[in-house]
Amino acid sequence: MKEATQLEDMLARGYQHGFITEIDADTVPPGLDEDVVRLISRKKREPAFLTAWRLKALRHWLTMREPHWPHAHYPPIDYQAISYYSAPKRNAEGPKSLAEVDPKLLATYEKLGVPLHERARLAGVAVDAVFDSVSVATTFKQRLQEAGVIFCPFSEAVTTHPELIERYLGSVVPYSDNFFAALNSAVFSDGSFVYVPQGVRCPMELSTYFRINAAKTGQFERTLIIAAEGATVSYLEGCSAPQRDENQLHAAVVELIALDEAYIKYSTVQNWYPGDEHGRGGIYNFVTKRGECRGRNAHISWTQVETGSAITWKYPSCVLRGDGSVGEFYSVATVNNRQQADTGTKMIHIGRDTRSTIISKGISAGHGQNTYRGLVKMLPSAHGARNFTQCDSLLMGGQCGAHTFPYVEVKNPTATVEHEASTSKISEDELFYCLARGISSEDAVNLIVSGFCKSVFKELPMEFAVEAQKLLAVSLEGAVG
């Protein structure tokens, strides 16, 4: 197509969140042993149970081997070359209000378009921002407190609500779950904590913005969300990172717990730095996300838009334990250049009449490799359980890859699983139709791709659906030429 050069220009424009903030950081030297874990725990003034838990996780991690079953290729990671803690330097007590937050940090969030500052807020969104590993500010605390909702940095919750942490931490993703979860359990530094009490409908969207800034650090945040009986909460996380030549490790753990009749909606717009067109740099995004519907008719819904990261390895999953509980997974994942994504979900049906829906849209461009991997498992107790999965892949260009690896395991004769998948090239007929109506090829691609992803975007909270669509357009720049 004649627009090729123009498209290449757009491609060269590349990642727009790739600035670095110069800020004094309190960084632990690279390496990992029990002393480092104790140091992290001490810095965060954690109770003894948590220190002990971290150490158990570390000891377990040392016995584990990095998994290589994902459909991804990367040079070996030297876990001793990573710094496991990096906090922006600040007053020992931490900021008491936004006024005390380092103005440079606030400026960073401004650049990211994070609605951190209350003046500039998006109506009704409470934001917890995690900068490298430390949560820097949480907005709207007041209003949430009135509703009885706890929404605060994880490290704060450890001191203010240790009983909740002790009860729920690791109860969905135990420290022994997998290599990266074990690593996270040993060294996690911060993240968000949400508790919505019985019968409360959280009065606003909750949001966390994650940012990796310091060089040679890993980010290991830990998020724990509990919705008590009849509670409802919608939570959104956004991610970005500076442009750097080396790869950075992001190994987060998210645990969701929904009790009877509770509803948790967790949305992610992931835009970590994907590396350049030669595959230099970019985030290794190795994340464990799992929700457990612990009560009757509980409902957990994951929506993700994955456009960033050099390598993505994540399977937001649902354990449907409560009778009548519902799990959903809606995903758009794009890869361009040398990006690799291996993502999908696990739906484990345990309770009677549990239901799950999986809608996955994969888009591959450039030399990108995109894999859907999903497990639907019906245990013998899952009477009348149902799953429906639809998994579509779109290929743009002859050098990318799209892979679909579903697992269907059914051990109950009254359960039903249906899986459908298709893979095809972006339709030339559709493209031509748009061009013939005077639409530029770039816009035409965006139009077709957003049509392809529509069933997922409609699951996002409104204001983020728009952002996600833009992000998608940016990440696919130069994909058709």
Binding site: Q399, H403, V408, P413
Partner: protein
């Protein structure tokens, strides 16, 4: 598994001197055993073996059965008209005569002087295909079928009977089938066994299809109830070759078949239809890899499995479209039916695609009978047990209806109804 590997190596060392070099050259046997020992025997921890019952490998006697046991050959179904039949008992050729014709040759390699035996093609190097190495190391005989021209019979029937127990050793049926360019052939392959015999079978088959060759290959796995049956089938297709493989698995205690098809020539086409039934504590597991290596290649896969009792049916179908395979097309329809509170169905349709000029789709379902269909039949006065059997029957029909030969289809239908305990279904035949 390391104890099993030890056992394997020591058994090999004991019998290696007696293994016929004309079937497989001694160096190749040694290489096979070395490769297998290095990789280890398959284990349930491996992705593509997790649905297979591998326990028997821990206490197997790997040395080949080397005695002509008496088998109940009288029970064999009639040879279809125009077909030539070869019968193996415990992996050893028992009847069927060598054919030497310019257009058609069938030879037992064991009967040949080593120097005359043509080179055996290299098998699949997939880790999933490594039980073929075991066959390569221990096979006592192999049938080499070469078809060049029209002199060939209408079809070939290969009958594999097991008569010895696993304690007497493993049986290693081995076949190499080559169709030259433009040749058409039908092969019927049957696996049977003397009842009450718990045999261990580890077969290997290699199929090569020349350009525009067409092979219609029926495999009926009706091994005895106690048998453990492993099989590895590797096929290589040249341009415009068409391979129709139709497999019906009803027998054995535990069956695992591994199929690796390479669509190496442009417009080569694999059409695979498979049906499997597992009841009691049976397990039926099939792994099929279809590799698209050339432009305009096609794969069509249909699988229907029914698990009843405590049976387990697994189908793992992987399709890889390599960058050069532009214009490829693949379709998979995999469906499993559960018919018992302790039954299990595992289906995995997998797509691995490295080019954009493709059309690939798959559908997979696992579950119970369609309630709308069931009610429709009830509303016509048909009783629930019959209605269920009818629908199970209809479920398998997508595969069974692909059997072009009427007499064979009738036979398969009778076997399926016997297995499903659905005598009434025979009216349908």
């Amino acid at each position: 598994m390391s104890a099993a590997v030890e056992q394997l190596r020591s058994e090999f060392d004991t019998v290696r001197a007696q293994l016929p070099g004309s079937v497989i050259a001694p160096e190749r046997r040694s290489r096979a055993i070395a490769a297998l020992c290095a990789q280890g025997l398959p284990s349930a921890r491996e992705e593509n073996w997790r649905y297979t019952n591998l326990r028997i490998l821990e206490r197997a006697r790997f040395a080949p059965v080397d005695a002509h046991a008496e088998a109940a050959l009288a029970q064999l179904p009639e040879t279809p008209a125009g077909f030539a039949r070869w019968v193996f008992v415990d992996g050893l050729l028992r009847s069927g005569t060598a054919a030497e014709d310019p257009g058609f040759s069938v030879r037992s390699r064991r009967s040949l002087p080593a120097a005359l035996a043509p080179a055996w093609p290299l098998g699949s190097d997939l880790p999933e295909a490594r039980l073929a190495l075991l066959n390569e190391a221990f096979a006592l005989d192999a049938l080499a079928i070469d078809v060049h021209g029209p002199a060939a019979p209408a079809g070939i029937e290969l009958v594999f009977v097991t008569a010895s127990t696993a304690q007497a050793g493993t049986s290693y049926p081995r076949v190499h089938l080559r169709l030259a360019a433009g040749v058409e052939l039908t092969v019927i392959e049957r696996h049977l066994g003397a009842p009450q015999t718990g045999s261990l079978v580890n077969g290997a088959m290699h199929v090569e299809l020349g350009e525009h060759a067409r092979l219609q290959h029926y495999r009926l796995q009706q091994s005895a109830a106690q048998t453990t049956w492993f099989d590895t089938l590797a096929a290589e297709l040249s341009a415009h070759a068409h391979y129709r493989l139709l497999s019906i698995g009803t027998g054995a205690q535990s069956a695992r078949s591994t199929v690796h098809v390479r669509l190496a020539g442009a417009a080569a086409h694999l059409e695979l239809s498979a049906a499997a039934l597992a009841d009691r504590q049976q397990s039926q597991d099939m792994y099929v890899l279809s590799e698209h290596l050339a432009p305009d290649t096609r794969t069509t896969e249909t699988f229907r499995g029914i698990a009843s009792g405590r049976g387990r049916v697994a189908f793992n179908g992987k399709i890889v479209v390599h960058p050069q395979a532009r214009g490829s097309d693949s379709r998979q329809s995999l469906r499993g039916l559960l018919d018992g509170p302790e039954a299990e169905i595992d289906v995995r349709p997998q797509l691995e695609i490295y080019t954009d000029e493709v059309r690939c789709s798959h559908g997979a379902t696992a579950g119970k009978l369609d309630e709308n269909m069931l009610f429709y039949l009830l509303a016509r006065g048909i009783g629930a047990p019959l209605a269920q059997q009818l629908l199970k029957w209809a479920f398998l029909e997508d595969v069974v209806a692909q059997i072009a030969r009427t007499e064979l289809r009738g036979e398969v239908e009778r076997a399926l109804s016997a297995q499903m305990n659905a005598a009434a279904m025979q009216e349908l035949c």
